[in-house]
């Protein structure tokens, strides 16, 4: 009874303030949709489903979030749709992947840029790591770079595609070590890139930390370095590239989060920005993410805005030579 009264009182206050304010306070009144620009079952889709599973709880949005997949062309199809056709009423959310969409907008040929979207909150950060097959002769990044120096352009290594985090990491490595490498993009994403490392088709590879962690557990690969500012809790024994003497920051880290299209009313953005990070902090969410080997990294709207701006600058500089 007490709970009911409290809820009624809460409802009454929201109602009155809603009327007094601008009519957006009752948001959301119906289920919300979230667009994921990668296929069902991929890492982004998988994580998006977990972090939104508690959206219907009273302490979160109070309305469920349904995931809609719009895969194709490395995410371009979904983000094009989101920038040009999605309703900016707050009921259409989208998942973003940094640096992918910013790198693609710098490369050109798409209808969006960082200005087309309004971030809400960040839920995860999956750093890129350097992997080699379990039986490889390389035991540290220095070994890899030494080989590349002796055989310029002959060190083949795989990654999930062009203009994604893995490619950025590859460019950073080339720049920091001052060597020429042969980056082989896969058309089957991180899984395809990992397969070519394990099968010995390439000498090494850049891959997602979460996938590499699983592959190492299965005894298939060695992880030589993390492309991030600090070591990761999943891999406390693997040094960062910085520790191994290469000037590489976290520009290639794959940040995943929620955004809305530009033009969404500010009160709705504020409400989402206040609620969504707490939704990510839910214990059940954290448990499932940890079980799946997906590193969480919760950031608020302001932090994400700063991160987007910083990324754009680094990427413009890095991709200028291509």
């Amino acid at each position: 009874m007490k709970k009911l009264l409290a809820a009624a009182a809460l409802g009454l206050t929201t109602l009155t303030t809603g009327v007094l304010a601008d009519g957006h306070e009752s948001f959301p009144e119906r289920p919300i949709m979230m667009m994921v620009s990668y296929g069902a079952g991929g890492a982004t889709d998988f994580q998006a489903r977990i972090v939104t599973m508690t959206a219907g709880n009273e302490d979160a949005l109070g309305m469920p979030i349904a995931i809609i997949n719009k895969p194709g062309a490395g995410g371009r199809v979904g983000w094009n749709w989101f920038a040009t056709q999605a309703d900016s009423d707050g009921y259409t959310l989208g998942a973003y992947n940094i640096p992918h969409f910013i790198a693609q907008s710098i490369e050109g040929g798409v209808e969006y840029s960082a200005e087309s979207f309004e971030p809400i909150a960040n839920w995860g950060a999956d750093p890129a790591v350097f992997v080699v097959a379990a039986d490889s002769a390389f035991n540290s990044m220095t070994d890899v770079v030494d080989y590349a120096k002796a055989n310029p352009g002959k060190l083949t290594f795989s990654g999930a595609g062009l203009f994604v985090g893995h490619h950025i990491a590859a460019l950073q490595l080339e720049k920091a070590a001052g060597v020429k490498l042969a980056y082989i993009p896969s058309n089957k994403g991180g899984a395809g890139a990992m397969k070519s490392v394990i099968a010995g088709e390439v000498l090494g590879g850049v891959n997602n930390l979460s996938d590499a962690f699983r592959a190492r557990e299965a005894g298939n690969v060695k992880i030589l370095g993390v492309f991030d500012l600090e070591r990761n809790e999943f891999l406390p024994d693997v040094p960062t590239l910085m520790e191994q003497g290469f000037d590489i920051d976290n520009a290639s880290v794959n940040f995943r989060g929620v955004m809305v299209p530009k033009g969404t009313p500010q009160p709705i953005i504020d409400k989402l920005a206040a609620t969504v990070p707490t939704m990510f902090e839910n214990k059940r969410v954290a448990g499932k993410m940890k079980a799946g080997g997906s590193p969480m990294h919760i950031m608020t709207r302001d932090e994400v805005l700063a991160m987007w701006a910083a990324r754009e600058e680094t990427l413009k500089e890095l991709l200028a030579g291509l």
Partner: protein, 509 residues
């Protein structure tokens, strides 16, 4: 024999209930056009959040096996292949249904599916370590040659002439280039935002097969309103059993081709059915009957696409690499419960791993029983009047294309390709080679680019693509396949007169 120890778990009441639910639900989802096995499994994942890991996987495994078989229902009765795996089933299956033998076609397809499926899962149980090596053996150069081998099949597949087959294959290859290219991200032929993501195979499949059908039905409906009432023959299940095992050549070709090709990451599932169909056609003494409602065609295609289910999971379960889109979705289902596939799965969670595999084995048999049970009823679909049928198929086609990525663009693509195909069919072209081109184009292209990038960095292109036993073996098969097609074409030309050709053409249209 470790798997036997966990058989009891499958029959625990809750587990068995989930298995039944997954099987029946999977059959229904699979029979719905546009809902491919990958999507069906993805839709079910949220339901597994609250289940025990083993229970969740039972549901997913059962749904996977039965959606693959369920796709045959719409392929046979409506000529809409539910997924690329079922393309070959339409070729003979739908012709049988049109003759009123829908029940027979469905029974044969479910029995063949069960035989192929059980064999595939047994391979998964007994030969996993060996198979894992085989799955890894295929690098970019080998996948390239494999795709080329697929292209050589195009000419001899369901066409009155090799030239027309190759031509429609080329149209398919061209369609495959539309969109952002897979590796470099270059834009090609994007003249409308609907095709910016390329032509998705599922809407293309639905359009190319179903729409010409719909247009023909509407056209016929005006001419003869009541002439088309078909009698649907009853077909005793006993006869179907006898027939499947009498056609042991088609059955074994289908099963073996399906399991071998199904294993190759990224390629297998989509082309296993077509390659098996083509092989059993080439080896059959009654090869001219293929395409006219011949039971061998259905048996080979369906045994192949279910045989691929078990082996397609080998890379996922042993190496933690999803080899097919469906396997990627299953990986999500495992991760959500904190289970990492790979050696860890069999060492630390044997109950989950083996219960999952066993449930696929039992699922195959349950699927067959339910399939046989509904076959007689489902075949009555053929009695629906043409005009009504056309409307239903059209509705399903729109629904199926839209549901793939919730995009109207896919519906436009489906309609445009379908209408084009109606006119091409008038000139004796057929849809199957076109779809095969659409599927194989990206595989050949991406692997060629990847292969040549690796080759340029290490040795040279010639050495990379033309040496090594697997490359040479595949090239030899390609050459043999082309030579065989040319020889058959020449031989049949010599013995057919123009009248025969005209008659054959009329029989086909």
């Amino acid at each position: 024999m470790e798997f036997l120890a966990y058989f009891g778990d499958v029959f625990a009441p809750i587990n068995f209930g989930l298995l039944l639910l997954g099987t029946i639900g999977g059959l229904i989802l699979g029979a719905t056009p546009g809902l491919s096995p990958t999507m069906a499994v993805a839709l079910l994942i949220p339901f597994t959040f609250r289940l025990e890991p083993a229970q969740g996987l039972i549901l997913l495994g059962a749904a996977y096996t039965s959606t693959v078989a369920g796709g045959a229902v719409s392929a046979i009765l409506l000529k809409i292949p539910g997924a690329p795996a079922n393309i070959a089933t339409t070729l003979d299956g739908h012709t049988m249904a049109q003759k009123g033998q829908g029940a027979r076609a469905l029974q044969l397809s479910f029995l063949a599916s069960a035989v192929g499926g059980v064999f595939g899962v047994l391979l998964l149980i007994f030969l996993t370590p060996v198979l894992a090596k085989w799955a890894l053996a295929f690098g970019p150069s080998h996948l390239f040659w494999l795709a080329i081998l697929g292209v050589t099949v195009i000419g001899s597949l369901d066409s009155s002439s090799v030239v027309k087959g190759l031509l429609s294959g080329c149209i398919g290859l061209w369609l495959a280039t539309i969109g952002f290219d897979d590796i470099m991200g270059a834009q090609r032929f994007i003249f409308h935002s609907s095709v910016s993501g390329g032509i998705n195979v599922i809407p293309a499949l639905i359009g190319l097969f179903a729409i010409p059908q719909v247009i023909t039905m509407f056209a016929k409906g005006r001419v003869s309103l009541d002439a088309e009432v078909l009698t649907v023959e009853k077909h005793p299940i006993r006869d179907a059993f006898r027939e499947v095992f009498r056609r042991s050549r088609a059955l074994s070709i289908g099963t073996i081709t399906g399991s071998v090709i199904g294993l190759i990451p990224g390629v297998g599932g989509q082309i296993a059915g077509l390659v098996a169909y083509d092989q059993s056609k080439k080896m059959s003494p009654e090869r001219e009957k293929f395409g006219t409602g011949h039971s061998e065609g259905v048996i080979a295609a369906e045994s192949a696409n279910n045989a691929m289910v078990g082996p397609s999971l080998v890379p996922l379960l042993t190496l933690s690499i999803p080899g097919s889109p469906t396997a990627a979705v299953l990986l999500g289902g495992l991760l959500i419960h904190g289970i990492f596939p790979g050696s860890d799965l069999f060492d630390n969670n044997p109950d989950v791993a083996w219960t999952f595999i066993n449930s696929m084995l039992i699922g195959q048999i349950l699927m067959c029983i339910f399939g046989l049970y509904v076959a007689g009823l489902a075949a009555k679909v053929a009695q629906v009047p043409n005009a009504v049928m056309a409307a239903i198929v059209l509705g399903l086609a729109v629904f199926g294309s839209y549901s793939v990525q919730n995009s109207m663009g896919d519906v436009y693509v489906m309609m445009a390709l379908g209408t084009g195909m109606y006119f091409l069919e008038r000139f004796g072209f057929s849809a199957a080679p076109l779809v095969l081109g659409l599927i194989l184009g990206p595989i050949a292209e991406a692997n060629f680019i990847q292969g040549s990038m690796i080759a340029n960095a290490t040795s040279n292109v010639g050495q990379y693509f033309f040496t090594g036993p697997l490359n040479v073996g595949l090239i030899a098969i390609v050459v043999a396949s082309v030579a065989y097609s040319i020889w058959m074409e020449l031989r049949s030309r010599r013995y057919t007169t123009k009248d025969d050709a005209v008659r054959k053409e009329e029989a086909l249209s």
